[in-house]
């Protein structure tokens, strides 16, 4: 501001500052009464807007923001979603994150379902001291990094299930469905040789024997495998009762070849592509009877909030949300709730408030693992919290099988699959 050069300007300035002081005083006395247009809460959303799974993230976040704003916002502050398309690139995500914090001044960032991207952003959340939560990536390294250096990395939260946790949930379901239900005794683990399946397979190897399934073999195949014949032949040679899967990069090809080879063993476990509603068409129906883990399913009311969200989403966008949409929707609510409890959007206070989250979202009850846990800031899993679902493709539809309380169908298998119900 240029120094005042004449008396008129000075008296105007005096009057101005008096006015400002009185307004400030009023603000101090009755903040809510006078705060008719307070600064909005900005949440940056960095996602792969072109990918099937990623496009739901900003869309779902917007729905959550609209709902919260319709109810008056957070203490009168509206939520504004600032969206960035990262084209599935880590480099672009890093740039977007820097822009979001430095120029657009967001209070928190919701980002990506790809582990590679999340791991690239994690250190930037620490450097720029901004709360960052991922609605979809599965790598255990995300939370391991937080455990390794809590003070620096505490700003990151893992809003989805880690590979290790996923293995545990698959085992829980396998116990009920396969061991107790179908009296199965043996299994072969089949997973793609990638970084995310490291902890997944370790989890499988540990928990499957505990529930009563003996692991006969463990096959890891190159993620750019196109010919699965040798793999299925190898599996069949061991004669297991079930194939426990860990696939994400591939899906259509092994499934189609499984059917065309008429492998007599059912598939059960993690198969990311099977969660897509277009998977039946992509495989020309070969996915019939494949059982896969998911956090949502058509018509399944995991919590009272699930189906209303799905309705709102499909009404607004004309298609069903991907799994990351559910968690992104919850993440906006979680951030808003934390800001409300902290009374401020300051990052340090926000971190503390988020650690105390106890929120019923669309996929279950969300609580974060506390400091000291090897997976600090990851989701707590288990009955009453988040269990996930096990769904089976039947006649073009995804039908939920587990937990029993949320099941809307019974297991069915095509004729070439031999279920060894050892009675």
């Amino acid at each position: 501001m240029a120094p005042y050069e004449n008396a008129a300007a000075r008296s105007a300035a005096l009057r101005g500052s008096l006015g400002a002081a009185s307004v400030a005083l009023m603000f101090a006395i009755a903040p809510s009464a006078w705060a008719d247009d307070p600064a909005p809460i900005k949440i940056g959303v960095i996602a792969e807007a072109q990918a099937v799974a990623g496009s739901s993230i900003p869309q779902a976040a917007q729905i959550a923001a609209d709902e919260i704003n319709a109810k008056g916002g957070v203490d009168g502050r509206k939520i504004e979603i600032v969206s960035y398309d990262n084209h599935s690139s880590s480099a672009e995500s890093v740039r977007a994150f820097q822009r979001a914090v430095n120029e657009d001044h967001v209070n928190a960032v919701i980002g990506s379902y790809i582990s590679e991207v999340v791991l690239a952003l994690e250190p930037w959340a620490s450097r720029l001291k901004t709360v960052f939560i991922t609605p979809g990536a599965a790598s255990d390294v995300i939370t391991q990094n937080i455990a390794k250096d809590y003070e620096h990395n505490k700003y990151t939260f893992h809003g989805y299930l880690t590979s290790g946790a996923l293995a545990g949930l698959v085992c829980d379901a396998a116990k009920d469905m396969l061991v107790d239900g179908l009296k199965m005794k043996t299994a072969v683990i089949m997973s793609e040789d990638a970084a995310w399946t490291g902890p997944l397979d370790a989890g499988y190897e540990a928990c499957l024997p505990k529930i009563g399934l003996k692991v006969l073999d463990h096959i890891r195949f190159s993620p750019d495998t196109t010919d699965f014949t040798p793999i299925f032949n190898k599996i069949e040679a061991s004669k297991p009762d079930v194939i426990i899967t860990g696939v994400s990069h591939v899906g259509t090809q092994p499934t189609v070849q499984w059917k065309s080879q008429q492998v007599p063993i059912p598939m059960f476990g993690i198969a990311s592509q099977a969660t897509n509603s277009t998977f039946w068409k992509d495989t020309n129906g070969a996915t019939d009877s494949v059982i896969y883990q998911g956090v949502s399913g058509p018509g399944v009311a995991v919590t009272p909030k699930t189906l209303p969200f799905v309705d709102a989403f499909s009404k607004k966008y004309g298609n069903m949300p991907s799994y990351a949409g559910y968690t992104a929707y919850d993440d906006v609510y979680i951030i808003a709730d934390a800001i409300k409890r902290a009374g401020s959007a300051d990052s340090g206070k926000l971190v503390d408030a988020m650690e105390k989250t106890d929120y019923v979202g669309t996929i279950g009850r969300v609580q974060f693992l506390p400091k000291g846990d090897p997976h600090v800031h990851g989701l707590k899993t288990g009955e009453g919290l988040i269990t996930g679902l096990m769904l089976q493709w039947q006649n073009g539809k995804q039908v939920n099988m587990w937990p029993a309380t949320l099941a809307n169908g019974k297991l069915e298998f095509p004729s070439f699959v031999k279920i060894a119900s050892g009675k």
């Binding site: 890891r220 750019d224 196109t226 793999i231 032949n233 090809q253 008429q262 277009t278 992509d282």
Partner: protein, 291 residues
């Protein structure tokens, strides 16, 4: 039992590689062009077949034919729009033309790949198979589709052989690969020969692509690896030699299958890559290479 499994499975994969590589080497042998959009054309054929048969419900046969036609058109487009344009260009020096054509076909391949991803997403797709069910050969339960694949591959290669060796047009093609100028002296229009060869190439790539789509499935991401694979096989066998490519295709196919069965499916691609590196260092012109 394992032996028969390896034999049969390896045979189907190798036949598919052979068909893809044959088209690639044919184009190089006759026109001197290394078409880096090869993989993209194959994927386009497969996705077109998938779209027609599965998505729009035209049935497996119609879908397959449609896929081949799409590849044919793309191959001709590649020739007219890109290769011919550069070959006749005066702005590019002779010794640089090869490199420019390589770069241009690479870009063209990327365009096709991205167009596929944009229109149909990059999710993997499988083409509705013409033949269904399984048969048991020597105790090995094999999908009938696999046998169909190997059969069609060899039928196509056989037809190509007949064409080149028994028909006048085919002999003109062979002559053009050896001595283009000589061919023109005989009164045969060289450009007609080229168009013919590209059309044949399109058909070969189309059949290979559709079969691949039925047998294993493709996605827009497959384009690059398919080109690299065809390229490797052709170099192994010797650029320009069709029989060399056939042999090399089986070597690579069986090498991969053996690795997948006996060592680990995780390392499937590695021995073939190592073999290629070895060939590059020791005998760069490949098994039966001429140029």
């Amino acid at each position: 039992m394992l032996f028969w499994q390896i034999l049969i499975d390896g045979f189907a994969i190798s036949s598919l590689y052979a068909l893809g590589a044959t088209g690639f080497t044919l184009i190089f042998g006759v026109t001197g062009v290394l078409n880096l959009s090869h993989g993209a054309i194959m994927v386009a054929a497969a996705v077109a077949a998938w779209a027609a048969s599965g998505n729009f419900g035209a049935g497996a046969y119609v879908g397959a034919v449609f896929g081949v036609v799409v590849a044919l058109l793309l191959a001709l487009a590649t020739y007219y729009l890109i290769v011919r344009r550069l070959q006749l260009s005066r702005a590019v020096r002779e010794e640089e033309k090869e490199i420019f054509i390589l770069t241009a076909t690479l870009l063209w391949g990327i365009m096709i790949q991205e167009a596929i991803a944009y229109l149909f997403t990059n999710n993997a797709k499988t083409v509705l198979p013409i033949v269904d069910g399984v048969v048991t050969i020597l105790g090995v339960r094999t999908p009938a589709n696999e046998i169909f694949t190997a059969f069609v591959c060899w039928a196509t290669i056989g037809a190509l052989w007949l064409f080149v060796n028994r028909t006048l047009a085919g002999k003109a093609v062979l002559a053009a690969s050896m001595n283009p100028r000589g061919v023109t002296l005989l009164g045969i229009e060289l450009s007609t020969v080229y168009v013919g060869v590209w059309a044949i190439y399109g058909a070969l790539a189309g059949v290979a692509g559709v079969l691949l789509g039925m047998f294993l499935g493709v996605s827009s991401y497959s384009a690059g690896p398919l080109t690299a694979s065809a390229f490797s096989i052709v170099v192994l066998g010797g650029l320009g030699s069709v029989s060399g490519s056939l042999i090399a295709a089986y070597v690579v196919g069986y090498l991969e299958t053996l690795t997948a069965y006996l060592i680990s499916p995780a390392y499937r691609a590695i021995p073939a890559l190592l073999l290629l590196v070895a060939v590059m260092y020791v005998r760069p012109r490949g098994l039966l290479g001429r140029r």
